[in-house]
Symmetry: C2
Subunit: 333 residues, 2 copies
Amino acid sequence: MVTIKDVAREAGVSVATVSRVWNDAAFVSPETRQRVSEIAARLGYSPHGAARSLITRTTHALGVLLPDLYGEFFSEIIRGIDHTAQADGYHILVSSSHDSKDEIDAALRSMRGRVDGMIIMSPDLEAQRTLHALQGSFPVVLLNGGAESKAFDTITIENHEGASAMVRHLVQRGHRRIAMIAGPERNYDAAERLRGYRSALGESGIAPDPAFVLAGDFSELSGHRAARAMLALDPRPTAIFAANDSMAIGALSALREAGLRVPEDIAVAGFDDIPMARYMNPPLSTVHVDISKLGERATTLLLSSLQNGERPRKQLQLATNLVIRSSCGGPVS
Amino acid sequence: MVTIKDVAREAGVSVATVSRVWNDAAFVSPETRQRVSEIAARLGYSPHGAARSLITRTTHALGVLLPDLYGEFFSEIIRGIDHTAQADGYHILVSSSHDSKDEIDAALRSMRGRVDGMIIMSPDLEAQRTLHALQGSFPVVLLNGGAESKAFDTITIENHEGASAMVRHLVQRGHRRIAMIAGPERNYDAAERLRGYRSALGESGIAPDPAFVLAGDFSELSGHRAARAMLALDPRPTAIFAANDSMAIGALSALREAGLRVPEDIAVAGFDDIPMARYMNPPLSTVHVDISKLGERATTLLLSSLQNGERPRKQLQLATNLVIRSSCGGPVS
DNA sequence: TTGTAGGCGTTATCAT
DNA sequence: ATGATAACGCCTACAA
């Protein structure tokens, strides 16, 4: 490996001079600069990142900790983050932790000294406590982490508003027996979406029926199962609202297998508006979230706190909007 | 920030001892080990990654350079890579370069000293030359990079075989006028898939019609455009084979907009079998590629070369298989 | 079993 | 305008 010393020796200058040339510092004669550049290029020199960040105390890398890497939701997030980071010359160091305290701890440890800050998506409510240990130690942005954590910059989706808007829409279309496939109990987004569902029912004067709420785990399979269980209910719901699109998609296939027509026999709606949603058959009505923008804004937040140093924490919310397609019968007539 | 010195001072031992405790080295008395561990935990100490890798000459990170981060193909690749890397205690440093020589150069530079090896996906044939500069300098696995590069470990998809199998299937279903929406001209996978298409036509004694080959850029939009253009042809093709699923999906929507039935009026097939494919209407026939496995195997290859040091380069191929759904009319009767 | 000290590759500080 | 040299935080001979 060719180091700064090799270049210095070859050029007959000191390492300090090479360093200055490399960093475009002032006070290097044009001739020296020229000669050193040429030799560096010829030798294929480029500085050693770790060594550099040891002294500069900056890595130009952002840590990204996600609960999972599966599915379009996460890939869109990463895309948003990477895009924004790269525009500012930052790399991203990705890690997925399955939400357990220990795994999060391990990930945080192993990123120490390798990143300038972190974006952590940890919707598990338990895991929040782990994070409190970090408070203020170094720049962190929490993604969908529950806004209680005023100690951090956070960005969350308007879960409650989105969910209740969708339920209101279903009510307006004449549904009274609206079931919900909820997400994991300990998940922040899931809890908020469920809360939105309930409050919309309340507003509409519909008594909530506990039998109409089944929990899934955000996977397609769990949506499929929940929908099947709901078909066994009597009376049967006339609409199913899933806490995310994957589960809604699972529900759609369960309904098809059961020989039911959507939306004629039963309406279906999801949440997130992953790219796949509009290709469903019928196209899936859902609550649109600009997922890659979620990643973008988290990154912007993090970069701003890296560059501006201390400043009051910010709590951002990302707006949602209804996307009515045919799986719920289309717009209100 | 708490360093090894702080822990040493607090524990009344030397930094060497703390280091030994941390790395589970032998020859530390149980009492000392215990005391140091406790203090380290209390102080929230964890070693500084950059400093550590400077001396150990290892980062436990893998660089991943992709041409893009958009769409299910890339997200599946990342998932496969991260999963395998994490199992061995490695992190991944992600970067997307838009395939230009300069961008690739920049990415490589900035990763120096931050990663132990790299997985580079750079299907652009031009970019291959840049890579030759790297030869042997440090561990690299080329993903879909054209097997000519015997200087690297490579893993490629069986593009030629997959494409020709699909075309043969279409021929068996009675199609003679089979059009192809090809990928970018300078793209390796695209070129191989086109070659497979041509050789299958040849085998079947069908004269290739240049008007039946239109180039897209792997995006849905370009597939849409190409399909529209093909509808204007006279005689019109009876089947369209797209070089990837995204373009096939774009073609499907163009056909629907034109009021054509798939597969009755025109058959459609894609390549990759992204998760979305089976949800299309009608479900898309395609050449299945286990995309996340592609990432997995690339990572395995890289890790093995990190651990075993010098060994002969390996050239791997990932098998494909036909997935016949209804967009091409189903299996041969 | 533990401590001392040198060095990893780079930048920053002070000379000159 | 350039050079010597001390950090940065850690690991590892070697010494004790």
